[in-house]
Symmetry: C2
Amino acid sequence: MIKQIQGGVCAAKGWSASGIYCGIRSNKNKLDLALVYSSTLASVACTYTTNKVKGAPLYVTQKNVANGQAQAIICNSGNANTCNANGIEIAQAMCELTAKELGIKASDVVVASTGVIGAELHITPIKNGLPQLVAELSTNGHLRSCQAIMTTDTFSKEIAVEFNLGDKICHLGGMAKGSGMININMATMLCFLTSDVKITSALLQKALSEVVADTLNMVCVDGDTSTNDMAVILSNGLADNELIATENEDYQVFKTALFEVLNYLSALLAKDGEGATKQLICHVLQAPSILIARAIAKNVIASDLLKAAMFGKDANWGRILCAIGYTEGDFSIANISVTLSSKAGELLVCQYSFGVKFDEDLALKVLAEDSITIQINLHNGNHSAVAYGCDLTYDYVKINGDYRT
Amino acid sequence: MIKQIQGGVCAAKGWSASGIYCGIRSNKNKLDLALVYSSTLASVACTYTTNKVKGAPLYVTQKNVANGQAQAIICNSGNANTCNANGIEIAQAMCELTAKELGIKASDVVVASTGVIGAELHITPIKNGLPQLVAELSTNGHLRSCQAIMTTDTFSKEIAVEFNLGDKICHLGGMAKGSGMININMATMLCFLTSDVKITSALLQKALSEVVADTLNMVCVDGDTSTNDMAVILSNGLADNELIATENEDYQVFKTALFEVLNYLSALLAKDGEGATKQLICHVLQAPSILIARAIAKNVIASDLLKAAMFGKDANWGRILCAIGYTEGDFSIANISVTLSSKAGELLVCQYSFGVKFDEDLALKVLAEDSITIQINLHNGNHSAVAYGCDLTYDYVKINGDYRT
């Protein structure tokens, strides 16, 4: 059984965290430097953005985790350290200074940055802040570290779960940041996960890659793939369970816990999408393949026309059919049904790919809620997928366009 | 030499057109039925949306043009005749009624519809309107027919050109509609072209397909591929030039004229994108292939983040690098330069893929204009492409979300 608990990234044994304001941002009321630390070396696995233009920290992290081990995560907000001539040098320096202060190896540090692209990141505030950041490491530090990675997020996003492997109690916690930043502009996503499960880095990577495909990779705020996206999991083995080295039952339990955590964070990321007034959840059922199910769910959730209609509480299901139709892949469009639902009720709007008459008053009520589920059944196979997104609002345009005016 | 002239779709010999209000729309101040007619049979070529969910008229048109010949175009606005159980039947009836009134064959009629998806289209107003529509056919009817295909377009879009093939004066005219519709919601594009050049339908198709790839297919308003997109060209041969049956010099001249017409209409479609306050033109230079050049130009022009920044006059070039970076294909991101320009000046913002200091005051002036050119040089090949788009504004959200509220 997987039980939700408190503690975020500090819920697992041996983990502590902290978050401070060090001076990267001009706004002193926001934290801008986060540290997450394990008392012992941990197995590590990562997934990165597929953008060819990558933030410098991603290259340094990739190098540092190549041996499958890491012990700390240092992350700043307010600046993405991307497209900077000295970016690698700065990211490297962040690792070295963090390692020195913690008494660990620089190559055991995961480094990440989030914020404006192409603005120089200075090392001085980070260097000056590190002693305090390390001094404040605590098992209560999860919330502050979570706050320190936020950009235009309007609320912090963390979760932890507890579960058994054999007779051992194990833990997995995580935090994530989404889109938005006072000084900016990008839909950056970062996700850091910590655990005390004993697992090889190879299987940790396998579990992360597979679960991310169904969770973080199914979140769409505006369709722009960030340069700095990164999801990292570290697991230090302090739960003392039997080492997971094959895809046994324990692996399946761990993977289920990981899914629960990432699914929870993904839904929050969508809910807090820039300017969003409501969350959209798109379930695609009975598709001929998992890839087609995912592609359809993503296209529907990413359609600006549909997103604007949802903002306007307009049950314009033609836009859903339109987005399904421009999805690549071999599937039948002959027998599609579409249902819109929320706490206020459920509404069948399309059957056998043709419109059905529906109650417009009920439609308004259903779409007035802050979480709308769009269920699409292709009746063309047995694969399904879920994507998370949000509506397109005046505030999205405002946040991303009005900054300098 | 290709010379721009008046006359739209009636500029070529033998062509007439008309546009009326027949009662499909509830708003009687808008026209909703258009007819374009050639006094003789014409070679015909078409390109269609790649959306799997297609409007019923597309299927009927596809069948009717299969023999390479057509003589008239009937098009209604206000209703897309898409996802309707009796859609094919209605589209077929539109052809039959038009043919009967004109005294031609139903299989020589091109039929198109644009408007709301999934609302039943009734034949009665069309049937009742056709006698008047045919009676009003005239060489001055081009503007009214152009108006009758508009949806939320804020201005009509037509053009005509004159050019010589041998000692014959030839003509090519066109009209297009873009996105927007009082009753709706879709980014539908329709484009109808008429000519008096004598050319085989095979070469007409080749020229159309090739030119569309560089023009209509490079326009992006919101990234939603419509169900009803269609570009049609009819050429009746009345200019009496030597039949173009091979890719000879005449073919090249004709193709150049076609490019000029479609490029002009494409730029207008972008300029009149829903809610747009400015046109965006993205030039990609020195790319390793034409497909990569096009893909980059499209991704940049389609980025919501960049579109919102352009609306806000924010020279946020990091978003351009971001969109370049998530383009698929094998190309180098090591040596990218980006220039923003308009009537007010030119601004180098990124060189060798790193930011350069620029004058923020000049940036504001450059971006305050109503047409902004984004020039991207990859320094990684010798292929180029141009895409047309527009900014993302409050009004886009309003048009597409606020309709029922």
